[in-house]
Amino acid sequence: MIDWLFSPLLDFGFMRRALVAGLALSLVAPPLGVFLTLRGMSLVGDAMAHAVLPGVAVGFLLAGFSLPAMSFGGLLAGLLVAGLAGSVSRLTGHREDSAIASFYLISLAAGVMLISMRGSSVDLTHVLFGSILAVNGTALWLIVSVSSLTLIVLAAIFRILVVECLDPLFLRGQGIRGSAVHGLFLGLMVLNLTAGFQTLGTLMAVGLMMLPATAARFWSKRLEGLMGLAIAIGMVSSVGGLLLSYHAGLPSGPCIILFAGVVYLLSALFGRYHSVFARWRRRVQPMLPPDAHG
C-alpha cells in the first residue's frame, strides 16, 4: 500500500523532477508568505500572482512553451506592476494596495487576452493552473536556482525585515529606507511566483506561499516556529498534492494547493492558538473549579 502510494515519486522522471521542484519551492515560498501575513499584505501576494500573467503570455507568444522565456516575461511584468503601483501610490497619495489591485486587474485581462489571441484554451489552462509534466531539466534548474537565490537574499535581509515589520521608524533612524527593503521583498516574491508557475500555475503559485503561512499562525506564536512550520506544511502539501494528482489524474497545481488548504482548515478548527477549538476551550474554562486547571 505504502509502496503503491509513494513509488510514483521515485519511478517516474517527471514525478521526481516535480517533487524536487515542489520541495525547493516549499523551502522559500512559505517564509515569504509568513512575512506577507505579518506585514498585513496577504492579498498583495495574490494580486502579484495575477500581475505575472501578461509577461508569461508575452514569453509564450514569442518563444512558445519555453520556461525561461515565460519566467523572464513574468518576472518583468510582476516587477513592472509592483513598480508602477508603488509610483502611483507615491504620486497620488492613494494607498499602495488599491494601486496594486488596479494594476493586477489590468494585467490579468491583458494576459488572458494575449494568450487567447494565439494559443488554445489548453495553453491558457496550463499557464493558469500549471502542469507537472512540463517540468523538464531546464525548468528544474531554474526553480532550484531561484529558491537558492531567494534563500540567500532572505537570510541577508532577515533581520532588517523583522525590524521593519515591527517598527519601520527604527530602521529609518539607521538610515535605511523602508521602501528599498519593501521593493526587494516584492522582487523576491515575484521571482518565486514566476518560478512556481510551472508546477502550480500563475494563479496557484501564491497558494504555496500563503496557505502554509496562514495555517502556521494557528500553531505558533514565534517567528522561527512560524517559518519552520510553514516550510513543513508546504513540503507535506507538495508531496501529498503530487501523489494525489498522480493517482487521481488531476492537475498538480490545484491538488497541491487543496492539500495545503485542508491543512489550513484543520488548523483553523483545531490549532493551538486562536482556532475555533482553542477559543471554545478558553470560553468554557472559567466554568471549571479552580483545581481543574492544568
Partner: protein, 240 residues
C-alpha cells in the same frame, strides 16, 4: 561610552544642532526657523499643543522629512541614534519576545550576519534586569502591558548604547512604577553623556525630567528652562 573631549564647551558637547530649520508636511508649512543645540548630558522636553509640529520636528531630526530650508547637523553616527516610537506605531501582533526586541538593539552595530555572541546576551540580560523585565523575557510583545512594553522598547535603546535618543510620549499608557523606572534610566543615560529629546505632555514629568524645554507654537520654537529647585546649570546661550 567615552566622554567627549572638552574643546570649547558648546562646540564639542553639542550632539545635534538645528540651524534655522523649516519643515513642511506636504505643502503646509509646519515649522519655521527653529534653532537650537542639543548637548550631551541634557534632557530636552519638546512640548506644544496637538498639531503644533512636535512629531514633524522629530521626523525632521530623524532625517525622515527633508528641510524646506536650514539644516539639521548631527554628530552622532546612525548606529547610536535611537528612537522610541509611540506605542501605537508598533505592530503588536508581530511574533517577537521581549528578549528578541531588546537584542534587536544590536542590529545597528551587528548588521545582517554578525552573530550575537555571549557578551551581547549578557548585556541584554543586564539591560532587562535593570528595567525589571527578567520575568517577561520570553513573553510575546502582544501579551505585555503598556508599561512592560515601554520598558522593553527602552531596553532596545540601552542595548544600542544610544547617544542621541528621541522619545515620543513615552509615558502615555504606562503605569506609575514604569514611569519611575523610565525616568531613572533616562536620567542615568543622560548622566552617561546621551542627549535626550522627549515629546511630553505632563507638566509634572517635564519639571522632574527635563533640563530644558522647547515649546512649539504657531510654527515657532521657544526655549526655556523649567523652574526646578536648585537648578541653575543651564548655560545662557541655550535660551533664545
Amino acid at each position: 561610552m567615552a566622554p567627549l573631549q572638552t574643546r570649547s564647551m558648546a562646540e564639542s558637547d553639542t550632539l545635534l544642532t538645528l540651524e534655522s530649520l523649516s519643515l513642511a508636511q506636504g505643502n503646509r508649512m509646519v515649522l519655521e526657523n527653529i534653532d537650537g543645540h542639543f548637548e550631551a548630558g541634557t534632557i530636552t522636553a519638546l512640548v506644544g499643543a496637538n498639531g503644533a509640529g512636535k512629531s514633524t520636528l522629530v521626523q525632521g531630526i530623524m532625517g525622515e522629512l527633508r528641510p524646506i530650508s536650514g539644516r539639521v547637523r548631527c554628530e552622532v553616527p546612525n548606529a547610536r541614534r535611537a528612537w522610541l516610537p509611540q506605542q501605537l506605531a508598533l505592530d503588536l501582533t508581530f511574533p517577537m519576545s521581549v528578549e528578541e526586541l531588546v537584542m534587536s538593539g544590536c542590529w545597528p552595530t551587528h548588521g545582517s550576519f554578525k552573530r550575537y555572541g555571549p557578551p551581547e546576551y549578557r548585556r541584554g540580560q543586564a539591560v532587562m534586569q535593570r528595567l525589571g523585565l527578567q520575568a517577561f523575557e520570553h513573553r510575546p510583545l502582544g501579551e505585555l502591558s503598556g508599561g512592560q512594553r515601554q520598558r522593553a522598547l527602552l531596553g532596545r535603546t540601552l542595548m544600542q548604547e544610544a547617544q542621541l535618543l528621541l522619545l515620543d510620549e513615552p509615558f502615555a499608557n504606562v503605569d506609575a512604577a514604569t514611569v519611575e523606572v523610565l525616568i531613572d534610566v533616562l536620567r542615568t543615560m543622560a548622566a552617561e553623556g546621551a542627549a535626550i529629546i522627549i515629546v511630553l505632555h505632563d507638566h509634572d514629568q517635564m519639571t522632574r525630567l527635563a533640563d530644558r524645554t522647547l515649546r512649539l507654537e504657531r510654527g515657532h520654537g521657544t526655549w526655556s528652562t523649567p523652574s526646578r529647585a536648585g537648578d541653575a546649570s543651564s548655560p545662557a546661550e541655550m535660551l533664545t
